[in-house]
């Protein structure tokens, strides 16, 4: 199932692979991880994993279980494993109970204390999302959106895959937007905020629905905060934007890549040569450093 050469290649993950993005005063600066000192790395706070698509078995990756297992092995082998994990949706490919069961079994191997999951549109094709909510609905009383605090950071889980705008963009809906306003009201502007949801919360490419209809309203609620990190999945590739103190960042999938915006008929699985696949799959880790700086590190399976 697992290609031995791929497994060997994974051993270097976290000790030099990738680029470290340091966020300070809302501005990203990138530097090579090989030059980063251990004390610069801060405390690993959380892992973002996304778009595991358990159940997918087509040409773009016939073994999504294998690549997820490789990802989990790599995360567990990090010298300082993250305290908890966020899954930004599309846990499964077709919302099937068996796919959720397999995904849960695999993800339970992650050496983290908590796993917070928001649904992707692939997870709720059964309408109100019975299978997803039966497993992950508890923290939110089956609403899907909720918030929690960890290490002084306020985390907000949003659901933007159960209502859609007429143009195909994701949407929170009125109830959730009101909840978000209330959740942020009265909160100190100096508290770092991390918002996570499946579909990008800003418009990346409207013709493919890569965005959220209330993006501007959401951003306007977040602008007064000194440090805001918005994490999404859905598009199976990294796209990032910095606007004032808000950093928007999408994660790679652990299952298969998708084409860049507008390339081809639609946002489906992208078939690449097998030796290129590990370099297009991966996860994001976040550390909180001195002065509550949040830094994101993207690592691939290559």
């Amino acid at each position: 199932m697992t290609d031995p050469s791929r497994r060997d290649a994974l051993k270097c993950l976290g000790v030099g692979a990738g680029t470290l993005f340091t966020l300070q005063a809302g501005v990203f600066s990138a530097f090579d991880m090989a030059q980063a000192r251990v004390e610069d790395m801060g405390t690993p706070l959380f892992l973002q994993i996304s778009d595991t698509h358990i159940g997918f078995n087509r040409d773009a990756n016939p073994d999504v279980i294998g690549t997820l297992n490789n990802t989990i092995d790599a995360v567990n082998a990090l010298p300082h494993p993250p305290a908890f994990a966020l899954h930004t949706g599309d846990v499964t490919h077709l919302s099937k109970a068996g796919e959720f069961d397999t995904a849960n079994q695999l993800l339970s191997r992650l050496k983290v204390s908590e796993l917070h999951v928001v649904p992707g549109e692939h997870d709720v094709t059964d309408g109100p999302g019975t299978e997803f909510f039966a497993r992950f609905g508890k923290p939110s009383n089956n609403r899907g959106y909720y918030s929690f605090d960890a290490k002084g950071v306020h985390f907000i889980a949003l659901v933007n895959v159960m209502n859609f705008k007429p143009n195909g963009l994701g949407a929170l809906g009125e109830d959730q937007l009101t909840w978000l306003k209330d959740d942020l009201a009265g909160r100190s502007a100096s508290q770092p905020i991390v918002v996570f949801a499946h579909m990008p919360l800003w418009t990346i490419y409207e013709p493919w629905g890569w965005g959220t209809g209330e993006g501007e309203q959401i951003a306007s609620l977040l602008r007064r905060f000194g440090s805001v990190t918005v994490l999404n999945g859905h598009i199976h590739q990294i796209v990032q934007k910095v606007e004032g103190n808000i950093t928007f960042h999408t994660a790679r999938s652990t299952a298969y890549p998708q084409p860049p915006a507008g390339s081809g008929p639609g946002p489906g699985p992208l078939v690449v040569p097998p030796d290129q696949l590990p370099g297009m799959l991966g996860v994001t880790t976040a550390i909180i450093g001195e002065k509550r700086r949040i830094s994101l590190t993207d690592t691939t399976l290559a």
Partner: protein
């Protein structure tokens, strides 16, 4: 029922001999993130069969909630019989940009 359509239906039944019912099945193909045809006119009692040819899953979800398919993987099909007249809009709940309409007379 539209007499021209009725004649077509009768012709189809006699040609295939598969469904000795009032109306023949009508197919909608899903390919390259589109429903084809996007606008369909049928008689009440007609069963519509959707088939997904894309490698990406799609669904058929009516805007008013009357019908909703599970996620269709490549080459999977879903069918629904329209028994009452009306205009029924539907989307793919995975790719809501995909829209189509069925008019039942």
């Amino acid at each position: 029922m539209n007499s021209k359509l009725f004649a077509f239906v009768l012709l189809t039944i006699s040609a295939t001999g598969l469904h000795p019912v009032e109306a023949a099945d009508v197919s909608v193909i899903i390919k390259n993130f589109d429903y084809s045809p996007m606008e369909l006119n049928i008689a009440a009692g007609t069963m519509v069969v959707w088939k997904n040819l894309d490698g990406e899953p799609h669904t058929i979800a009516s805007v008013d909630g009357m019908f909703r398919s599970p996620a269709l993987d490549q080459n999977d099909s879903y069918s629904f019989t329209f028994n009452r007249p009306g205009v029924f809009k539907y989307i793919c709940s995975i790719h809501p940009k995909m829209k189509a309409t069925i008019t039942v007379k």
